[in-house]
């Protein structure tokens, strides 16, 4: 019993031969629909913030510096490559690339940021990226947002009009240490 098992085990090990791949010395291509690092095309983005509102890892941050400037920051160090952002983007501005070798000693290598110039709607006073028409309809992130880009923290409040006091306060964002802080 013991011996015949050992013979079977030797056969099991001999048949497949060497299976180890030479990676990373030889590249290992990925299949077509692979979900690698997302890439933002700032020509297409209208600044609707849909991706930020749906990112499960809260990796995409939005900060409205003033009425016309909206900064969007993608912090790849937290990204889970789920591809949800690219699913929801109404302008197809996000592609899931085939990049997966992303280990780095510098966080900036996996960070992308866009500064979008938004125009004010004469009727409702809200802002939209002016190069694409009718963008207001597609806005899913209503109002102004105040995420702290320095701390990479999402601040879950939005206001209808730009609130400069809040903008200043969120600049000094810190996690609470006690109740009521």
């Amino acid at each position: 019993m013991w011996l015949s098992s050992k013979i079977k085990q030797v056969l099991m090990a001999l048949k497949p031969g060497v299976v180890t791949l030479k990676y990373p010395y030889e590249p290992h291509p990925v299949p077509p629909d692979f979900r690698g690092q997302p890439y933002w095309d700032h020509h297409k983005c209208v600044g609707c913030g849909g991706c930020a509102a749906h990112c499960p890892a809260r990796t995409i941050m939005v900060r409205d510096l003033c009425q016309e400037v909206r900064v969007m920051l993608y912090d790849g160090s937290r990204c889970t490559y789920c591809g949800r952002c690219s699913d929801v983007c109404p302008e197809d501005a996000i592609t899931m690339t085939d990049k997966f070798e992303l280990a780095t000693g510098d966080k900036r290598d996996v960070t992308q940021s866009m500064e979008l110039f938004m125009a004010t709607c004469k009727r409702c006073g809200r802002c939209y990226e002016h190069e694409t028409v009718n963008a207001i309809d597609r806005m899913s992130l209503k109002g102004f947002r105040y995420d702290n880009l320095e701390m990479r923290a999402v601040i879950p409040v939005s206001t209808e009009h730009l609130d400069t006091a809040l903008l200043e306060k969120t600049e000094k964002y810190k996690r609470p240490e006690k109740l009521g802080e």
């Binding site: 019993m1 013991w2 098992s5 085990q9 099991m12 497949p16 499960p56 949800r84 879950p156 996690r175």
Partner: protein, 556 residues
């Protein structure tokens, strides 16, 4: 009369005004509101009627009626019924009877809410801290709504968990928190007399990440599946499916049959993957690395298949509330069939090579032995229970997704030891391949794979969903909430009940067998430890700079 009504009738006849209301939202689940004085009697009665304890859910209801809620859930496996026994205690005096003396597996659930909600259970045999880190401030109950999700109390020095008293004449052998045979942090203190284990205390929950609190306060319904999937690196789809099903049940959302078939296929692919992985780890734990290398070699094509189907080797990201994200095209279908054929052939070779190996028998037979009665008493689940002759399987007993259309058998063996868990898992892998073929064959084409949610989900609806993960049964409990997110979401992974049975399995075994006994439940500590508070261990962490790290590496 359907069995569910019989059960509710019987309960209300017996306890009359001990039960204040019964809510039966569907044909397979009911919720009974009871007076807190009766909790022990009613739970014991349910066990007597053939119920199996699942998990308890505590929640903060202070804003509405100044109470803390507590729900004990049970399953009637032969009748496809889930039930929840709901009660509450006032915030000012949150004391209720413990059900642990009679239902030992409730021990951890109750301790969890001592830590998280500040509840008290009279008669609990071991009301020690379970989940929160030792330096977490007293009186700060993270699951209460008044505590912000991102609170970060300063860390404290000189606090440590007090292990149980070591029995007379025994020596403590610490295993963990970092240990070669445990791949995740957990601490077992084994009390040994010579070579024989006489007792054990467990301190885990070191990777407790606060997922439930995070999802209840920050994320929305359709973001949570992605977080749920990351509860476990191996049974990701299981958690996502279980979560999605609980929301769909609570919100009365009907999804297409095709989506259900795709979910079934994903779940079974995951099982094939997980069992091959476990077989390798088990071989490794008993020092048999040939098995380890070769079952992992056979497993690798499953990872590549996942990459082609879903865009990622693991954490597939397929399942969301309302269906699935990617379809199975004819090419992918053929691809799956080819991969499964190959795996089946290779697995037969592995199986034949190991079943007769006496060295494996010597290491696993009669090791970690517990009786069927004990397995039932401790509410063990999955292959661990099925290796002890307990015939339960959620796929058959509480069918979900497309399992009602599938023909499969549930392997049960009664060797009551570690060898049994090996057998059950190998046999199950063949069944899984069989299910995948059937599902691909019968898959209908009846509408969108993703059903859009037309209306908002009504708040304060309860639902239980169970899914058979490779390691056993996963239970998700949901209370829907306002603001497009759950009010309460409770996850119970299979390791949660099984790990509580480990001290019993270890008892009177040799010290050298401890790794394989712990390994035989296929423990997944990160699943078990999901839950609330974030970043408990902070401060005092030294971060090496890149230059320092390089210098350090060169020095070696």
């Amino acid at each position: 009369m359907p069995r569910i009504e019989e059960v509710t009738q019987q309960l209300s006849n017996k306890f009359k005004d001990g039960i204040t209301g019964i809510d039966q939202p569907g044909a397979t689940q009911f919720f009974a509101d009871i007076k807190k004085e009766k909790v022990k009697d009613i739970c014991n009665e349910i066990i007597k009627m053939g119920g199996r304890y699942l998990v308890s859910i505590g929640y903060d209801n202070i804003a509405r009626d100044q109470t803390l809620g507590m729900i004990h859930t049970f399953a009637f496996d032969r009748d496809n019924i889930f039930c929840g026994i709901r009660t509450s205690v006032p915030e000012q005096n949150p004391v209720m009877d413990s059900i642990t003396p009679d239902i030992p597996n409730a021990g951890w659930s109750e301790r969890e809410y001592i830590d998280h909600l500040g509840m008290k259970f009279s008669g609990h045999p071991k009301p020690k801290r379970l989940i929160l880190s030792d330096d977490w401030p007293e009186g700060l109950y993270p699951l209460r709504k008044s505590v912000p999700w991102n609170i970060q109390p300063p860390s404290a020095e000189g606090v440590a968990y007090q292990l149980d008293e070591c029995p007379e004449g025994c020596t403590v052998v610490p295993v963990g928190p970092y240990h070669p045979t445990l791949h995740e942090p957990a601490h077992f203190a084994l009390y040994v007399d010579g070579e024989t284990i006489k007792g054990c205390d467990y301190r885990g929950f070191m990777v407790h990440r606060g997922i439930e609190k995070l999802c209840q306060t920050q994320l929305t319904y359709n973001e949570i599946p992605f977080v749920a999937e990351r509860i476990c690196g191996i049974c990701g789809s299981v958690h996502a499916t279980s979560y999605a099903q609980s929301v769909e049940t609570a919100g009365n959302i009907k999804i297409s049959r095709r989506a259900e078939y795709i979910r079934t296929i994903m779940l079974e692919i995951e099982r094939v993957h997980s069992h091959l992985l476990w077989l390798g780890v088990a071989g490794h734990l008993i020092g048999f690395n040939t098995v380890f290398m070769h079952s992992w070699r056979v497993r690798e094509p499953v990872m590549w298949l996942g990459e082609r189907m879903t865009g990622n080797r693991k954490t597939y990201g397929m399942i969301v509330v309302g269906g699935v994200r990617r379809d199975i095209t004819p090419e992918i279908k053929q691809d799956i069939l080819n991969v499964m054929k190959k795996i089946e052939e290779e697995l037969i070779v592995i199986k034949n090579a190991i079943v007769g190996d006496t060295s494996i028998h010597k290491r696993t037979k009669n090791v970690g032995r517990i009786t069927k009665e004990d397995a039932i008493k401790w509410s063990l689940v999955g292959p661990v229970a099925r290796a002890r002759g307990v015939d339960i399987d959620v796929r058959r007993d509480h069918p979900y997704a497309a399992y009602d259309d599938m023909q499969f058998s549930v392997p049960v063996v009664d060797t009551c030891d570690v060898w049994g868990t090996v057998l059950v898992r190998v046999l199950e892998t063949f069944e899984s391949i069989h299910i995948i073929r059937q599902a691909l064959d019968k898959m209908p084409d009846d509408g969108p794979i993703l059903t859009e949610l037309a209306e908002p989900i009504a708040p304060f609806k309860h639902a239980i969903a169970g899914v058979e993960a490779p390691r056993g049964e996963v239970v998700h409990y949901i209370i829907t909430g306002e603001e497009n997110r759950p009010e309460r979401w409770r996850v119970r992974a299979p390791t949660y009940p099984n790990l509580q049975g480990v001290p019993l399995m270890l008892l009177n075994n040799e010290l050298a067998d401890a790794p394989i006994i712990i390994g035989s439940i296929d423990p997944c500590f990160s699943c078990t430890e999901r839950v609330q508070v974030v970043d408990i261990r902070s401060g005092g962490v030294k971060v090496l700079s890149k230059a320092e790290l390089e210098a350090f590496a060169k020095k070696k």
